[in-house]
Symmetry: C2
Subunit: 345 residues, 2 copies
């Protein structure tokens, strides 16, 4: 059997490659970066919501099944430059710094994932201009290193705000969809901060709190056990106050129906999820349909998000829309199964 | 290979049985009811949120892979009365009206699903006492039959309210978790009603609107294209008004911070999801750990919701928590894959 191409080495791709190998099918795992692990690795995710399991442990479980596995031909720092349907699957051209190679593969799993919204595009929040306005990925690394301080002066903050839906549910920036994870991850961060530093006040500005399903437990606990405060409202602007030593969040409290203007030492932006660069490239290479949001559109024949409707092409993970890691891992299994069935048909 | 037991014939179980058969593994599909299709079939789900695909079409795709499949030994109206670990998997005792049978199976997939919250338990809403207070499952059937009328007098309603989170996010009734689907399904129903009957006003009472991910599109459209109105607030009580000809919803509008009391012709309750009877029974039979909510707790070794942590035992669908059909179907694939690997180890 020719190998099955898995494009993308994040949680979904790792899961797909691991399952293919377990089924005895050769996998060709191609990742554009020089490391495996996708966004969780890139941004040093610390503990994962809602169970506070260490991201490294979860990724480690997946990586150990893939790295060194004789059934997995692993290509880092490699992209796809061409893909062509063939009778037995696809002919794909792999491109790395030192080689261009064309390979016959028997099926393809696209696990090309998402990119975080670039918070600089939300200009009025001052990200990239005000050092104490952070993206929540940056706070994630700070929490991981147990060093939550203001980048401007290295001092511990007394009061932190999280602003949800930055680059999500926002028609102005062209991203009307919800990122599915910003609420849970922000609340998780607020809980972690309050656990270790009860002297820091934590405020969360939200439109709707979307800790769906059993994640709701995290939301309750954050209020009742950790005293995280929630303010329903949209922050319109962040400015510098007190001679540049603090930040001022201005907006509307939609519960109290009045303007709000509150000083903070640090403000954390929950940046949304967009189709990844690799997802856009793959959609073009494989002529795969995308929805209005730019994510790959599955065929949904039985509602599963894995079948593309194109012979030999399968999807896993956030390439088809914002997704939590458990779903990405499960879809990796589903895509591996379908690709395996196709390859041995 | 001894067959792999799939317990539960809803979307997750159908998916698991279909995938096992496709892998060439014999499946023993056991369902307590006398039909396949689970809750979508039981409650006559009409069009599914958010894509408005007919539930029958989706179920049909799954059913056609299972019914009449020589690899699937299908047992309707059958329950499990005993389960015992054996060297090669499990010994399970099946019980139906006319037979008790013990079978050796090589692995087990629990796809025992959820039950809808019984809205009568939310006594103050009058469900079961006031004929025009419906559960949203009942409206689903009305929409399916294109006959949206008041049960009390058969007249078309002029004004309908949906109350979200009935038996969800509610500590009083002991269900603090979120059902994950009540928002999307209610909004979908409001859109369907407004599409066909633009003269009917549609109001949705909510705490948070949780149309997560790409489902957000449905929420926007419901407001902008279909004029569905959203009121943030909790209805405390429903009473009869105008001599019994209308319903009165009393509560608090938490945006306007004032009491609200609005008459409606019909009120629809978005009833939550609880662990199914079959899920509770299976947890006991297999000594499988459950979380505080009563759903099965996966081991989450790599965050996937499929591995139980118990040898030979795997989970799929809403047995591990409230879940949409696409996720249930995908988990059916994952569980089939894992069970297959275990059975052929």
């Amino acid at each position: 059997m020719n190998p099955i191409l898995v494009l993308g080495g994040g949680p979904a791709g790792l899961s797909a490659a691991a399952e293919l190998a377990a089924l005895g099918a050769p996998a060709l795992l191609v990742e554009r970066e020089n490391y495996l692990g996708g966004n969780p690795k890139r941004w040093h995710y610390s503990l994962l919501a809602p169970d506070l399991k260490p991201a490294e442990e979860i990724l480690g479980a997946l990586l150990s099944k893939v790295e060194g596995n004789p059934k997995v031909d692993l290509r880092l720092s490699t992209t796809l430059s061409k893909a062509e349907r063939s009778e037995s699957g696809y002919l794909v051209t792999l491109k790395s710094a030192d080689a261009v190679e064309t390979r016959a593969v028997s099926a393809v799993v696209l696990a090309t994932g998402f990119d975080h919204f670039d918070s600089r595009r939300k200009f009025e929040y001052g990200y990239g201009r005000f050092p104490d306005v952070l993206d929540f990925k940056e706070l994630e690394a700070m929490i991981h290193d147990d060093r939550v301080v203001r980048p401007s002066d290295g001092k511990p903050p007394r009061r932190i705000a999280w602003i949800l839906c930055v680059g999500s549910r926002d028609i102005q920036v062209g991203n009307p969809w919800c990122c599915r994870l910003g609420c849970a991850v922000s609340i998780k961060q607020a809980v972690e901060v309050r656990q270790k530093h009860p002297e820091i006040d934590a405020y969360v500005y939200y439109m709707d709190i979307r800790t769906y399903g059993l994640w709701e437990d995290l939301y309750w606990k954050s209020m009742q056990e950790y005293g995280v405060k929630f303010i329903r409202g949209r922050i319109g602007q962040i400015t510098m106050a007190e001679g540049g030593s603090r930040l001022l969040a201005t907006g509307e409290d939609t519960i109290l129906s009045r303007p709000t203007e509150v000083p903070f030492d640090m403000i954390v932006l929950a940046s949304g999820m967009e189709p990844g660069v690799g997802t856009k490239e793959a959609a073009a290479l494989f002529a795969a349909p995308v929805g209005p949001e730019g994510f790959l559109s599955p065929s949904l024949s039985d509602l599963n998000p894995v079948d593309s409707g194109i012979p030999g092409l399968f999807y896993a993970g956030a390439a088809t829309g914002p997704k939590a890691i458990p779903d990405a891992v499960t879809e990796g299994m589903g895509a591996a199964l379908r690709a395996y069935q196709y390859a041995r048909r």
